[in-house]
């Protein structure tokens, strides 16, 4: 995961917020993915307007967790989403 990159949903993928985290729907199956991310990531993060580093920082400010802990967890999640072809990296510049 790159901290200076934003992430967008792949074409044909949608996401919505649920109590456990995020629910992804991939039209290409169709297939569902349940991501137990709790409140770490909002579904609008995948509109690509915020870079991962900003998410780490804002979650740190709001919840007081160490940045490294947040970064490690977010990194695991993004690697999984990338490997499943649900999102793609979109460098801001």
């Amino acid at each position: 995961m790159r901290l200076d990159a934003a992430y967008r949903l792949e074409d044909g993928v949608q996401v919505r917020r649920e109590n456990f985290g995020l629910l992804f729907y991939d039209y290409r199956g169709p297939r569902l993915y349940f991501l137990p991310s709790e409140n770490l990531i909002r579904d609008d993060f995948f509109q690509g307007r915020q870079v991962a580093g900003d998410l780490v920082e804002s979650f740190h400010v709001e919840n007081g967790l160490p940045r490294e802990t947040i970064r490690a967890r977010l990194s695991l999640i993004m690697e999984m989403l990338l490997s499943k072809g649900l999102v793609h990296e979109q460098p801001i510049c």
Binding site: R16, L23, P30
Partner: protein, 343 residues
């Protein structure tokens, strides 16, 4: 599929089964909704658009469209276009008889998936169930869809008449570049009257279970988790998705747990007019359905595979909710139905 997260309760259905009209140009003997003539009070175009708006706002991902025959509605393709504008996938279940080249051109969209119904691999076996001339017209529809490379499956309701034709139906699907899907016959609509004559025997259900294992590419939706063997685990749901992953809106806008439980006692609300979120989250009908436990099945060795099977079949055969699905693999092995019921 993660049962754990589904059991925690989703904010909205993943899929909405939406029967857009009762009107149908065929009169199939096993029709789940007793379709035929358009009925008073069916949703208008603007009301249908409201339903789409509501589902989009609730982030419902997919519609399973049925009826009746959806294509008899003059506004149907416009409504589908509107759903696609909102990013909603539409899986359209049709008898196929009204699909021509022009219609196929309108359906050529990445968010369209078509299910065309056939109940026999020849006119001789199909038409007595679905109507004279329907087989020939369905084949024409399949040609039109194939020309445009539209995602399509042939959908067959498993009955004692269609069971011997499964191999040939699967071959027919391949010849049109289509997938093959088998659906469960349920005793709702006109299926109530034809149930005893058409429902598969226990032996056929067992043989079908083996057939499914040998044909992993055949899909079943949520129809057959009660008879799926271990090797198909993960290929679909292993529990009823009603009120958890899906629900049904009737042509009148009435909301029910599923298409096979459109009975007054399962009425949960009406669209448009009521808050769908309130219906989904707070309706007593949906609440009690989510709590439903098929107690008599809990000691069964297959409970983790089926959780009691299809509640609708249990309801329709026993006239009460909470009874087990009589077509489960364990029952088929140990309890053969009386000969009279399968004659």
């Amino acid at each position: 599929m993660s049962n754990r997260y589904v059991e925690m309760g989703l904010s909205a259905p993943v899929n909405l089964t939406w029967e857009v009209t009762y009107q149908c140009n065929l009169s199939c003997v096993h029709c789940l909704s007793d379709s035929g003539k358009k009925r008073p009070g069916e949703l208008s175009t603007s009301q249908c658009r409201e339903v789409i708006d509501v589902m989009s706002a609730n982030k419902v991902f997919q519609f399973s469209i049925g009826g009746g025959e959806p294509f008899v509605r003059p506004d149907f393709l416009d409504l589908m276009d509107y759903a696609h504008e909102k990013g909603i996938l539409t899986c359209i279940s049709t008898n196929g008889t009204l699909i021509d080249d022009e219609t196929a051109a309108r359906l050529d969209h990445k968010l369209v998936y078509i299910q065309v119904s056939l109940d026999g691999a020849t006119a001789e076996s199909n038409d007595p169930i679905r109507g004279h001339g329907s087989f020939r017209r369905v084949l024409h529809a399949l040609e039109c869809l194939k020309k445009r490379d539209i995602e399509v499956s042939i959908n067959t309701v498993l009955t004692r008449l269609s069971f011997p034709e499964l191999d040939r139906l699967a071959e027919l699907a391949v010849s049109f570049g289509a997938k093959f899907r088998v659906s469960r016959f349920r005793p709702s609509g006109r299926g109530k009257a034809s149930w005893s004559g058409l429902n598969v025997s226990g032996d056929q259900m067992l043989a079908f279970s083996d057939w499914l294992s040998a044909h992993r590419g055949v899909s079943t939706g949520d129809s057959f988790f009660s008879v799926s063997r271990e090797d198909r685990k993960g290929l679909g749901l292993n529990m009823c998705g009603a009120c958890k992953l899906t629900c049904c809106v009737s042509p009148l806008g009435h909301v029910y747990p599923c298409a096979f439980l459109q009975e007054p006692e399962f009425f949960a609300g009406k669209l448009p007019g009521q808050s769908f979120s309130a219906i989904w989250n707070d309706s007593p009908v949906f609440h009690s359905f989510r709590q439903l436990e098929i107690k008599s099945c809990e000691s069964c060795h297959r409970f983790d595979f089926c959780h009691g099977g299809c509640p609708a079949i249990g309801y329709h055969t026993q006239k009460k909710l909470g009874f087990p699905d009589p077509g489960c693999l364990a029952n088929c092995v140990s309890v053969k139905p009386p000969a009279a019921s399968v004659a």
